[in-house]
């Protein structure tokens, strides 16, 4: 069984008036566990469509998507929701936290979606938040958090179910340089230590240094731009 995320010959058409527009044009990509891939490109190039399909939110017109070796193209809506819950960690542009839940509950609600919250789950959530530097904010509501803290909470939320795939959609869009570096390096660490396959869509060229490969999306076509050597990413202490 192949791990990670494989997409083969993906094509997605949108109907615009009488024209048929290909938002994705025969896109193929393979992301291995432990690999952090960036997708850059101008607005309207199809990046988000690409990420939505990878994230089981949208179905492709043609082609196939394999998550952990399972083809998700044929799943029902319910099965897709389940896949999103268990296999995919989604980090969004703005953190999109639930406004009336405190930081710890943001994570536990994900656990509740798939059943009961056990004591181990709670301990794991606390540990995860502590690792991400939010140990003192467990009981804070989103309105009391800074942008960086919110985004770190969103990362923790994406990791709570220990997914194999991490998808990040412009995770640094609302952050200053310092916070952006913090957040992306966190993601990179998690990818590395947890052997997860990760795709980050970004405009932010500064963040590419954390990635193993950079793809460029233009007019629905995906091409490998460069393979970056992770020279400046220090192996974090205390993780496995």
């Amino acid at each position: 069984m192949t791990k990670g995320l494989q997409m083969k010959e993906l094509t997605k058409y949108y109907n615009e008036g009488s024209n048929r527009i290909a938002a994705l044009d025969h896109v193929s990509i393979s992301v291995e566990p432990g690999e952090f891939v960036a997708v850059v490109g101008p607005s309207g190039s199809g990046k988000s469509t690409f990420l939505s399909i990878a994230g089981a939110l949208l179905k492709a017109s043609e082609g196939e998507v394999k998550l952990n070796g399972n083809n998700i193209s044929a799943l029902t809506a319910q099965e897709l929701a389940d896949t999103r819950l268990k296999e995919i960690g989604f980090i969004m542009q703005s953190s999109n936290l639930v406004p009336y839940l405190n930081v710890l509950d943001q994570l536990l609600i994900i656990k509740r979606m798939s059943g009961k919250v056990k004591r181990e789950d709670k301990e794991f959530a606390v540990k995860l938040l502590e690792k991400l530097g939010l140990g003192s904010k467990l009981k804070s509501f989103p309105e009391e958090l800074s942008g960086g803290e919110k985004q770190r909470t969103a990362i923790a939320r994406a990791l709570i179910n220990d997914p194999n795939i991490i998808l990040a959609d412009e995770p640094t869009a609302s952050l200053d340089t310092k916070r952006a570096h913090e957040v992306v390096s966190l993601i990179a660490q998690e990818v590395n230590s947890g052997q997860k396959a990760a795709i980050m869509v970004t405009h932010d060229e500064r963040m590419l240094e954390y990635c193993d490969k950079v793809y460029r999306m233009e007019d629905g076509k995906l091409s490998l731009q460069q393979a970056v050597k992770k020279s400046n990413l220090k192996e974090p202490a205390g993780t496995r």
Binding site: A23, S43, G44, G46, S48, T49, S52, G55, L57, L58, A77, Q78, A81, D82, T83, R84, L85, K86, I88, F90, M92, Q93, N96, V98, P99, Y100, L101, D105, I109, I110, R112, M113, S114, F141, R157, A158, N161, D169
Partner: protein, 373 residues
């Protein structure tokens, strides 16, 4: 439930307003049902509390005491019919009690004179004084509300427009008929009052209005076949046949039905608006893997909690209102009535939240992300 309660705790103000609306609706429903119940008790409590199961009326009397005239000669015959345990005659007539020949307004009181055989199963237990006796035909037992009108045991009152005078020998509770206090007299005295005019008894020997029966599973048709010129109904059928009873209850019932329909609509709209405000939130939760079932449960449990709180507060307010209501107000809350309407309200609010649930299942998580190109 978790999500629902967390949100309630976080936006107390918003939910408080919905609770207030709901409480007011529930309060109104309970008050109205209490009034309706009070009114129908006032109209027929003597009938309703009677230990009788079936009533024999004259044929063609539309189950109404005032239109029915039978002879008490039928009773021995009735007692032999299958399933009949006991039979007793009853008569009713409306009258006005007059305190000491007075002509002042406040000294006149409408009453319903109920003629029964002393000691029969139709005689209610007295709470004060003593029961009816054949030796004392003008001694009567009356509803305790007459106490508030200034009557006491041993008082004698005149019946307006007749030469008859009655003496109160006992009080009974919860005995009203046609919205006025019931006055129980021995059968003989009732006949004097009801058939004072010569010929008004149509020549019937031992005239009575109806014969009340005790006994389970009596077949009304079988009785009507055995007897001639009778129409047998259940006790509740006889209550329905009371003049104005059906109309009165119909009015209250329509008001309640409309109120519940409006409540369903108002609550449904409120829940819908709240859900609409959260479309984006629900979409995001869907994007990170929440199933429709999970979100629907959150909505329904939230509505359930809100409804339960509102209904409980509404019930408390209703009992509070009942406690300070003027005595003469026909208001009567019964536990099973309160429970019934609570359940109806709860079901209505849950059903009205289904519109919101339907909306949620249609949310496209992709749109919520706002990133469709």
């Amino acid at each position: 439930m978790f999500l629902a309660v967390k949100e309630l705790m976080h936006s107390k103000m918003r939910f408080l307003m919905i609770v207030i609306i709901f409480v007011l609706l529930a309060w109104l429903v309970f008050i109205l049902s209490g009034l309706g119940n009070g009114l129908s008790t006032l109209a027929a409590s003597t009938f309703k509390t009677m230990k009788a199961d079936y009533v024999i009326f004259e044929e063609g009397s539309q189950s109404s005491m005032s239109k029915s005239l039978l002879s008490d000669q039928l009773i021995p015959e009735v007692q032999l019919l299958p399933n009949v345990i006991a039979a007793a005659p009853m008569g009713s007539t409306m009258a006005t009690a007059l305190k000491e020949q007075s002509t002042r307004n406040e000294d006149k009181l409408d009453i319903a004179i109920i003629g029964i055989n002393p000691g029969s199963f139709l005689e209610p237990a007295v709470v004060e004084g003593e029961g009816l006796s054949t030796e004392n035909p003008t001694g009567v037992i009356v509803n305790s509300t007459m106490k508030e009108e200034g009557f006491a045991i041993g008082d004698t009152f005149q019946l307006d427009g007749t030469t008859q005078a009655l003496t109160i020998i006992g009080f009974v509770e919860n005995q009203t008929y046609n919205h006025v206090a019931s006055v129980f007299t021995p059968m003989a005295e009732w006949r004097k009052i009801a058939f004072a005019a010569p010929g008004s008894d149509k020549g019937v020997t031992g005239p009575v209005n109806a014969i009340m029966l005790q006994g389970k599973d009596i077949d009304p048709d079988a009785i009507d076949n055995k007897l001639t010129g009778t129409d047998t109904v259940t006790r509740s059928g006889a209550v329905q046949g009371m003049p104005g009873y059906k109309e009165e209850n119909g009015t209250i019932f329509m008001m309640l039905a409309f109120l519940l329909a409006i409540a369903a609509f108002v609550l449904g709209v409120f829940f819908y608006v709240i859900t609409m405000q959260k479309t984006n939130q629900f979409g995001i939760m869907k994007a990170i893997g929440a199933s429709n079932k999970f979100l629907s449960k959150a909505i329904v449990s939230q509505v359930f909690v809100l409804s339960l709180i509102s209904i409980v507060v509404g019930i408390l307010l209703t009992y509070g209102t009942a406690a300070i209501m003027p005595k003469g107000m026909p208001f009567k809350l019964e536990t099973n009535l309160v429970v019934t309407y609570s359940i109806i309200l709860l079901v209505i609010s849950i059903l009205s939240s289904m519109v919101s649930v339907r909306k949620i299942t249609k949310i496209d998580p992709l749109k919520a992300l706002g990133r469709v190109e």
